[in-house]
């Protein structure tokens, strides 16, 4: 990336220029805008190559020719392709993804309804990943090459290798069916369903707001297995990255200095070195959060979790393209936004990248 400040010719120093952090932010926002446009172009093209005729889907195949033509014009399908794309972008930006054939409601309302479930799952998942992944990575780096390191490495590689949907099924089989340690699929037991007023859509928060401790624990019991599963996957990534950042830090001279000064070893590792890997770690966490949002598609299918992933796959089976593409755009936007946040944080927080 060209540095806008240093790339400026020496003679034009008095030209108007933005402060450095703002210039970086503008650059990143422009990049994200372009990426989002690319995403929309892809979903738009997918929507065009689908063999389903959207006009027929709307009017039915016994509608007279005049009605067919009118709807075709209403849907904007008589326009040239590039104009259709502009119309499409305009609609998506205002939150109009069309109507779901399956639920006969605007897709955006459906998504708003199911999104909190996915958010809850992915958030708890990434928290689990942070809680266990960072210490595991640090321990591996400190004992580089010895058995704790190998253990963390193999544990992480297993996480990279196991199909998430299969591990979910095995988890259900063991922890739910055989040992009864956790609750089964879904977000709540059936007799708790609908008892809590949905305020935020996050059942754990809603239950606490309503003072229903029993429902809260039931929700936790349902969440434990799928979130733990997602947490394992982010743990694999976070621990691996933590390890490699930490190894780099432990080679630095300030670490030697601190040790020579007689600073306790735990302090050298957990305070001095860890503080210096905070910035890259934040970007790693943001990335793994984005991956979890995506990875929840399969997990939600296995655990009958009524979130965005299940919404997309259910619509897929019914060829409900508006819903599929709307869901794709929303997940893609979150994914790209989290990428941007991680990039932005990295550039703003790390003095070397400034």
């Amino acid at each position: 990336m060209v540095d806008p400040v240093s790339a400026r010719p020496a003679g034009s120093r008095r030209r108007l220029s933005l402060p450095r952090p703002i210039a970086v932010a503008v650059g990143i926002v422009a990049q994200v805008g372009l990426t989002l446009l690319g995403l929309l172009l892809v979903t738009f093209l997918i929507g065009r190559v689908v063999p389903v005729d959207p006009v027929l889907a709307a009017v039915g195949d016994r509608a007279p020719q005049a009605v067919y033509e009118r709807v075709r014009i209403e849907l904007g399908l008589h326009l040239p392709l590039h104009e259709q794309f502009v119309v499409y972008v305009g609609k998506v930006v205002t939150g109009d993804f069309g109507e779901s054939v399956l639920t006969a409601r605007p897709v955006i309302e459906d998504i708003a309804h199911v999104f909190p479930a996915t958010l809850e799952l992915a958030t708890i998942g990434v928290l689990i990943g942070i809680l266990f992944g960072i210490p595991a990575g640090v321990v591996a780096a400190v004992h580089q090459g010895r058995w704790p390191d190998q253990l963390v490495r193999v544990f992480g590689l297993v996480g990279y290798s196991v199909p998430i949907f299969w591990l979910g099924l095995v988890g259900l089989l063991l922890f739910y069916a055989h040992w009864g340690l956790v609750a089964g699929p879904g977000r709540l037991d059936i007799f708790y369903e609908g008892l809590v007023e949905p305020v935020t859509g996050l059942i754990m928060v809603d239950a606490l707001l309503a003072g229903e401790v029993e429902i809260f624990w039931n929700a936790v019991s349902h969440l434990l297995l799928p979130a733990g599963l997602l947490g394992y996957f982010s743990l694999a990534y976070i621990s691996r990255m933590t390890r490699s950042f930490m190894i780099d830090q432990l080679r630095q001279e300030y670490v030697t200095t601190a040790r020579v000064k007689g600073v306790a070893e735990w302090r050298v590792i957990w305070v001095h070195a860890l503080r210096n890997i905070q910035v890259p770690l934040i970007t790693v966490i943001a990335l793994s959060y984005a991956n979890l949002l995506e990875g929840s598609v399969l997990t939600e299918t296995v655990f009958a979790w009524p979130g965005l992933g299940q919404y997309i796959t259910n619509s897929l089976r019914k060829a409900d393209m508006n819903a599929v593409l709307g869901g794709t755009v929303v997940v893609g936007t979150c994914f790209i936004a989290l990428n941007m946040v991680s990039d932005l944080l990295y550039r703003l927080l790390d003095p070397r990248a400034r």
């Binding site: 990049q31 372009l34 990426t35 690319g38 995403l39 892809v42 979903t43 997918i46 929507g47 190559v49 689908v50 063999p51 580089q144 090459g145 390191d149 490495r153 193999v154 590689l157 297993v158 990279y160 290798s161 196991v162 199909p163 998430i164 949907f165 299969w166 591990l167 099924l169 095995v170 259900l172 089989l173 069916a177 490699s244 984005a290 949002l293 995506e294 990875g295 598609v297 399969l298 299918t301 997309i312 796959t313 897929l316 089976r317 060829a319 393209m321 599929v324 593409l325 869901g327 794709t328 997940v331 893609g332 994914f335 790209i336 990428n339």
Partner: protein, 309 residues
């Protein structure tokens, strides 16, 4: 005793030929480099485990019809959902088909998918990366922007949307995965290209009048191939998992094909009582992905010692 002296001395002669500092032919130099890499690899036990698993997968795919007496499609409705025993080592599924046979034949499908994705995505990435890196300027900027855009896409979701538009099936699943798999290869080959672009031998070829296309195709691409191959090995597990995920959702290979993801999906409804139907193909996916990951990890350690132990 005298017999055993002969092989040892030929072996050491081969070794000397491989390890020499002054190779007399390009072939010798290449073999020597390969041998050094091999020596590094066999010192890493985890990577060897990975290699053995990958070789087993290849063997299973090649020999599947001879390894089992059952056809992967032959139904036996009286012997359905049998637990694993001496006759059916992995049990039978809901149509009485032998699961072991289906898993072995599934190895062929898995290899087919992985190979097809690699054959499509790696050359595309290689081409885009080398052209961008060698030409530089606005071509580089435009191609890398495109790469960044594709890199920022959520892979599985996009593959889902693609397959939903094109219709389910192996070929479409492969196409969808390949479409989102090429950007890392483009990045890697661009980085490699930039490091060799300014070398003297490239300048020499250019002075001899070689065209840009010839320089890229004959002199730059061969230098980028090895790092791209390693990256492909590392990506294999991800490709297999994505393909299996699509199969699990019913969007990949269609029944009755013995695709592992689809087999897990069909075993799901019997999970609580007949655990083996869903579990066995899942174990196959897991072991194969672990093999590719271990091997890829070992290969990367070889090339980039800083990353490893």
């Amino acid at each position: 005793m005298t017999d055993s002296v002969q092989p040892v001395s030929t072996r050491s002669a081969v070794r000397d030929w491989l390890m020499t500092d002054t190779p007399r032919s390009r072939l010798q130099a290449r073999c020597g480099r390969f041998y050094l890499g091999w020596l590094g690899l066999i010192r890493n036990p985890l990577a060897m485990v990975g290699l053995v698993i990958v070789l087993l997968l290849l063997a299973a795919a090649a020999l599947a019809p001879w390894l089992t007496e059952y056809s992967p499609y032959a139904q036996d409705l009286r012997g359905r959902l049998q637990p694993p025993d001496a006759a059916h080592w992995m049990g039978t599924d809901e149509l009485g088909r032998d699961i072991l046979s289906r898993v072995l034949h599934g190895a062929q499908l898995t290899l087919y998918i992985v190979a097809l994705v690699a054959v499509i995505a790696a050359p595309v990435g290689l081409l885009i990366g080398t052209v961008a890196g060698y030409l530089g300027g606005w071509v580089d900027a435009a191609l890398m922007r495109l790469t960044d855009i594709f890199l920022a896409f959520p892979r599985l979701i996009l593959a889902l949307a693609f397959v939903s538009a094109l219709g389910p099936g192996i070929e479409n699943a492969v196409l969808a995965i390949a479409l989102t798999a090429w950007p890392p290869y483009a990045r890697i080959s661009r980085a490699e290209t930039i490091t060799v672009r300014a070398s003297d031998f490239i300048a020499a070829v250019r002075l001899q009048g070689a065209s840009q296309g010839r320089i890229i195709a004959r002199h730059i691409v061969p230098l980028c191939v090895s790092s791209v191959i390693i990256r492909v090995t590392l990506d294999m597990a991800g490709i297999i998992l994505t393909a299996a995920g699509l199969g699990f959702l019913g969007l990949g290979a269609q029944p009755p094909l013995p695709e592992w993801g689809a087999m897990v999906s069909s075993g799901r409804q019997f999970l609580l009582d007949q655990w083996w139907v869903a579990t066995m193909p899942g174990i196959a996916i897991f072991v194969v992905c672990l093999g590719f990951n271990l091997l890829g990890d070992g290969l990367r350690d070889l090339l980039d010692p800083k990353q490893g132990r």
